[in-house]
């Protein structure tokens, strides 16, 4: 299991009062996050570290030729999924783009199964037939893993439609990038979600670039969080490098959706340290820019400092580090030992047998 057991307890229901003022505000910094317990914090630390180490390992296996095709790493953005996952509950659904390894681990999918999908083996979540960009787990309510930029947005809206149709109070977390936010189907989705008050949280992971194009060169308007204004969808900019800020904003958005008020937009200000995919030398940004983010805003380092400040001893964290390392090593071993899919798999799963 990729998830720290301790984080389970954090998915408590926030009171509806918190959702009161919902128009777009420029920053969530003002909303003081509720004090998290040490156990919660250690859980977030562990969950973020699992993603970080997993991605580094994936990068290494890619370098060894064990992972093929496109492989988009999530390093730097860990606080976003870990914070949001802490704000939701059993039965809520998640859907995202091709930069999906972190989301799957955060949803509680096994590191082994994710890594084995990356290596194209039968032990992978899609039996090796989906690869890095296309993985799913019905059991963990993770609905992909979508390779077409923006396509997951109407799909996530449809998952929210499903929650509503079945008269549940479940919500749909629908992640998209700062590049995806310019796709027409995103606005088609905003319109329908607002029109029908669907419980969907659109989480824009603004990592400043869509491949090599910076947000400023691609997106008009002052703020992506405000992209829903025309539809009356509240939006909020969030420090996506701070897991606690993400959790607080997530709590607020989730409460709003559960209360039946309709969709919500969260723009997560985040950053990816690595290139867009493995073969991207990232010439469109300076080394200084990357280093500054890493040194001053790294979500894992920041939380580690917080933990030490709150008198968690080094040994406890070292133990977590070791466990995480072992988990990832085990996943990598599994992903190499699991056999390639049998050739008969070529012909399965094309249609559901009626």
């Amino acid at each position: 299991m990729a998830r720290a057991a301790t984080t389970k307890s954090t998915a408590s229901r926030p009171g509806p009062a918190k959702a009161a003022a919902a128009r777009s505000t420029r920053s969530s910094k003002s909303a003081k996050p509720p004090e998290a317990s040490i156990d919660d914090l250690v859980g977030y630390y562990r969950d973020m570290l699992v993603i970080r180490r997993f991605e580094e390992k994936a990068g290494q296996l890619y370098g060894m030729g064990l992972i093929g095709g496109f492989c988009h790493l999530y390093i730097g953005q860990e606080a976003v999924v870990v914070g949001m996952q802490a704000a939701i509950d059993e039965g809520d659904t998640v859907v995202t783009s091709y930069r999906d390894h972190g989301h799957m681990l955060a949803c509680g999918m096994e590191a082994r199964g994710v890594m084995a999908e990356l290596t194209g083996r039968i032990g992978g979540y899609s039996k090796g037939k989906g690869g890095s960009m296309h993985m799913f787990s019905r059991e963990k309510n993770f609905f992909g893993g979508h390779g077409i930029v923006g396509a997951q947005v109407p799909i996530g809206t449809g998952l929210a439609f499903n929650h509503r149709f079945r008269d549940t109070d479940r919500v749909s977390l629908t992640y998209l990038g700062d590049g995806a936010v310019n796709q027409g189907q995103v606005y088609e989705s905003f319109n329908m979600a607002a029109l029908w008050k669907l419980p969907v949280i659109f989480i824009i992971e603004n990592n400043k670039y869509g491949m090599g194009t910076s947000v400023t060169r691609a997106a008009a308007g002052p703020s992506l969080a405000e992209r829903g204004h025309a539809y009356g969808i509240p939006g909020k900019e969030v420090d996506g490098m701070d897991v606690l800020a993400v959790k607080a904003a997530g709590d607020e958005a989730v409460a709003y959706c559960r209360a039946g008020k309709g969709p919500y937009i969260l723009e997560m200000k985040t950053y990816r340290y690595r290139g867009h995919s493995m073969s991207d030398p990232a010439k469109y940004r300076t080394k200084e820019e990357v280093n500054k983010m890493r040194q001053e805003h790294d979500p894992i380092d920041t939380l580690r400092r917080t933990l030490l400040d709150r008198k968690v001893d080094e040994d406890t964290l070292k133990k977590v580090d070791r466990e995480v390392k072992d988990l990832v090593t085990d996943a990598a071993d599994f992903a190499q030992q699991s056999p390639e899919p049998d050739v008969s798999e070529l012909w399965t799963d094309i249609l559901v047998e009626a």
Binding site: G158, L159, S172, G184
Partner: protein, 476 residues
Amino acid sequence: MPTPVLMPALSPTMTEGNLAKWHIKEGDTVSAGDVIAEIETDKATMEVEAVDEGKVGRIEIAEGSEGVAVNAVIAWLLDEGEDADAIPSEGAGSAPAAAEPAAPEPKRADGGGVGPERAPEAPALPGAPAHTSVPVSVPDVDEARFFKDTQRQTVREALRDAMAEEMRNDPVVFVMGEEVAEYQGAYKVTQGLLAEFGAKRVIDTPITEHGFAGMAVGAAFGKLKPVVEFMTFNFAMQAIDQIINSAAKTLYMSGGQMGCPIVFRGPNGAASRVAAQHSQCYASWYAHCPGLKVIAPWSAADAKGLLKAAIRDPNPVIFLENEVLYGQTFDVPTDPDFVLPIGKAKIVRQGKDVTITAFSIMVGKALEAAEKLAEQGIEAEVIDLRTIRPLDVETIVASVKKTNRLVTTEEGWAFSGIGSEIAALMMEHAFDYLDAPVARVAGADVPMPYAANLEKLALPQVENIVQAAKAVCYRS
């Protein structure tokens, strides 16, 4: 055991590169994520980060080395308490066994296609086409028994009844599309559904095809059963990405987890005098794609029986209707259990001299042509394909074995059309039985013109079918 640092591949095609620069030296301590070296390929210079932590025990490949093979050991990291003596001496230049993949050499597919080394081993027929993976043998159903009690109905009414019955049967079936609810359907196909099932299950959407198609796919992933009406299939081109990339492919890409029980339906093909953007047959577009089923009925009975089957089917189904047929009347079984199997063609006229295949509106024209041919002493067998994918190859082959001649008909363009596919299938499955080349009757290879005289020329007419049938019978 010291940890080897390997020369990484930085792109799917890289086999070797230059080690441009070391950022570390022997004795340094590194942690995961530190940049340790720069590698140059013909395309770019990239930084290499440490994946493990440790002390740099030995650097194997000097800065400035060119043509370093991917996976060669370029340095060694030592764990706490280890020293350089622990490094295997023969290690230089080749990866130790421990780092070798346990499974066969991984292969890189550059184009994303199936490489020759993955050539399919199933199924057995030489040159077996991929679609034989789709079951073509559909169990025979005694359709005749349903026709003991029938009523006269238009195709429009039959379609509406099919939806209404399935909605009564299954509470997760819902209908959505433009003007389907309050307006009762742009072509009145959904007449009365709103009154019976309410706005929760009969949903007027904004004009947002890409969006509502994708939304319906998401709902289907959530195990609802959407029936999505496109006002016409011309507008479904806005949504074709969601239909193909999301609805059709996700089951496969998820290793069987994400079924998508959905029906996309609406009028397809030429209506009358609406010109190029509103008059196109999309049968071959959708039939091309594994993961979809494609149905194109002609009679009202088939429309009802097959739409019910489509709604019950756990897969994405494209249901191609025809505006001109909506008002035509046929005998439709009254039995509430009347459902037809998807994938079964129907011989709508028996004959021994030539086989004519048709679907949707062309079935009527093929039957008319058969009448005319009969007057000239040619007995044509007319097959209503009904389902385009999976195609009932068996029925066509059996007929061709009897008549030895085949004319295919469709409203769409011939190039890469359904007729082309059937001709290829006959070469594969009935080559020795053909006494003449297969003839294709299809729409003219032009965008649909508006002018009445030109439109008539662009569409396949009864006379074209008669001529083609005579030609394959070598009769002038």
